[in-house]
């Protein structure tokens, strides 16, 4: 028995220890604790009597107002829903969807281009081949400049959230749908470019190096081998980002363009909380449907392989 315990202690002493993981865990715990201390999150202020009364009133107002007298009549409710949908709900939902589709499409195009520039295996003097002896430092510098430039650009555009991009672009392009579409597209170009670059770098295939060794240009390699090889993996990411675009598109309307968010903000400003709640649920439904469609599409792409 003691022999076993000894062996176990020895094994546990020998196990690989991970200093950086421990320090990180400690630092994160401190950060969490510190943020609760430093932030002004007093729970008592939230549960004060006045606030509780406010909340109660608010919860009552979420209930559709034609049903207010306390009786539940399904036909009244349906009429209310039909009016809301006909007036704005349907239109806003379709606009939201269209914004997400247009933005993801643009992001996909931009992402492919940036991915090619940011992939270290492709943007080098000798793509997909062992490093050649002496490409000369200007050539080397040129290619690493492209990689670093693409990566910096991608990090910057994805570090800034869609909402802030939309806010800035709205002032430039005025009240069309372009600012929203472009904001989503810019942010997601950064993300898709980064993911795409990883896909390209993880692709090590004989066809690519063979093509290069036979003297194919980079463009020839890309179109004849790289695209077919990486297409489906890129598509998985494309649909995954579309999901998030639907989610964001509902919200960006709050800046004043008529997607769902606009009407949510509008209902809130008029204190029509029942309407606001209905539109929020409608947005949630759209997101859920988008998730299902995207999951089905990704499953289909995976099965095609």
């Amino acid at each position: 028995m003691s022999r076993h315990t000894e062996a176990l202690t020895r094994l546990s002493k020998q196990r690989p220890k991970n200093r950086s993981a421990r320090w990180s865990a400690l630092a994160l715990a401190l950060l969490a604790a510190g943020s609760w201390i430093a932030g002004d999150f007093g729970a008592d202020s939230m549960l004060s009597e006045r606030r509780l009364a406010n909340m109660q009133r608010f919860l009552l107002e979420l209930w559709p107002h034609p049903l207010q007298p306390g009786s539940f009549d399904i036909s009244v409710l349906l009429l209310w829903v039909r009016d809301l949908m006909g007036e704005k709900g349907f239109e806003a939902t379709v606009t939201t969807l269209a914004i997400s589709v247009a933005a993801t499409f643009l992001a996909g195009c931009g992402g492919v281009i940036l991915a090619l520039g940011a992939a270290r295996t492709l943007a080098t003097p000798s793509p997909f081949l062992p490093p050649s002896r002496s490409p000369g430092w200007p050539v080397q510098l040129f290619w690493s400049g492209i990689v670093v430039g693409c990566r910096l650009f991608m990090i910057f555009v994805r570090a800034i959230p869609e909402y802030i991009w939309a806010f800035l672009l709205l002032a430039i392009f005025g009240p069309t749908s372009w600012p929203l579409v472009l904001a989503l597209a810019i942010h997601n170009t950064g993300i898709l470019g980064r993911l795409g670059a990883e896909v390209v770098e993880n692709t090590e295939s004989p066809p690519l190096s063979t093509l290069r060794a036979l003297g194919a240009t980079r463009a020839q390699m890309v179109f004849s081998a790289l695209f077919p090889l990486t297409f489906s993996r890129f598509l998985l990411f494309f649909f995954y980002r579309w999901e998030t675009c639907v989610r964001e598109a509902t919200v960006l309307g709050m800046l004043g363009i008529s997607s769902l968010g606009f009407w949510i903000q509008d209902a809130r400003a008029r204190n029509h909380y029942d309407e606001m709640f209905f539109l929020i649920l409608l947005g949630g439904l759209l997101v859920l449907i988008g998730d299902l469609v995207s999951a089905a599409a990704r499953e289909w792409v995976r099965r095609q392989n």
């Binding site: 993981a21 932030g39 999150f41 910057f156 994805r158 392009f173 372009w178 990883e198 949630g284």
Partner: protein, 307 residues
């Protein structure tokens, strides 16, 4: 944002031509065509003309003014009369960044435990007898009654939590409680724990089962198998994804400033509306540095952890 398992597609891609493969290509072409068609519909529907992309007159000048300041962010206030006691601009930016981190990490410290609990409840691995081996009466009871109830219930709860955007949760809470800091944190935490739970459950279900099978063979109980066989195999991916979510929390926390919270978005919007474009770039670069720092940290950890 951990990668989908890519090895499978690589393998089949390398396995060469086959009759089935030729059909694949046309299927992909059809999908590409469908995507383009959908995009065309969207552009028409939104009435997105290319002409609108060329700003003219005052908006062009504004765009030039704004983007020309990208290379020279403001280091001091741009407003001609600054109140005497005001803190320097960079100090204010640092404080806004600190507030952004505070909201984000407070939200994550709620979302992570909740996401883990809900994620475990939503794994199919936890509920299948696969982990336990034989079928006792208790397991049959769990399989028939408890499993659909808890598993289905958790899945629905997760879906509702994450399908409503954090800013919409914030709007709801603003209307309910007014501008309290705690409600912003909770608004961030609800959808984030839903998303974490969904991804965690998928990661655990897709984790390699080798250690779990070995432990089961050695006679471990189901919970031991789960905790020591299955969970550690999914842990690196879960850590990486949590860091990515922290990054997202930072961005969302910055945006919450637009609703009046003292994070980066608040000062950014104020400076932009006053046309102090240099200050806007200062705040944008501050946010950029925050995100880069988190990404760097996660990268260091992942390199040590996974390899």
């Amino acid at each position: 944002m951990t990668d989908q398992p890519a090895s499978q597609s690589e393998r089949s891609a390398a396995s060469g031509e086959s009759p089935a493969r030729r059909r694949v290509v046309s299927g992909r072409a059809a999908l590409l065509f469908a995507i383009t068609l959908a995009a065309a519909w969207a552009f028409l529907r939104l009435d997105l003309g290319l002409v609108d992309l060329l700003p003219s007159g005052p908006s062009l000048r504004m765009a030039m003014d704004f983007f020309s300041r990208a290379a020279s962010p403001a280091l001091t206030y741009e407003s001609p009369e600054t109140p005497a006691g005001a803190a320097p601009l960079l100090w204010k930016a640092a404080q806004a960044a600190a507030n952004t981190v505070i909201f984000a990490s407070a939200a994550m410290s709620l979302a992570l435990p909740l996401g883990i609990v809900l994620g475990l409840l939503a794994t199919s691995a936890w509920w299948t007898e696969d982990l336990a081996g034989g079928k006792s009466q208790r397991q049959r009871f769990i399989g028939r009654t408890l499993r659909p109830l808890v598993y289905g219930g958790t899945r629905i709860l997760i879906a509702v939590m994450r399908s409503i955007h954090e800013l919409l949760w914030a709007v709801l809470f603003l209307a309910a409680f007014g501008l309290t800091h705690l409600s912003a944190v909770i608004a961030l935490a609800i959808p984030f724990s839903g998303i974490l739970a969904k991804i965690f459950s998928e990661m655990i279900d897709e984790a390699p089962r080798d250690a779990a099978h070995a432990l089961r063979g050695a006679g471990a109980t189901p919970s031991q198998v789960f905790l020591f066989g299955l969970l550690p195999r999914a842990l690196p991916d879960m850590t990486a994804y949590s860091f990515y979510r922290f990054e997202c929390a930072l961005r969302s926390s910055a945006v919450l400033g637009f609703f009046g919270y003292p994070t980066l978005g608040f000062y950014l919007a104020a400076s932009f509306e006053n046309l102090y474009y240099g200050e806007v770039w200062t705040y944008l670069y501050t946010l950029f540095l925050l995100i880069v720092a988190v990404e760097w940290w996660s990268g260091v950890l992942r390199r040590r952890f996974v390899v």
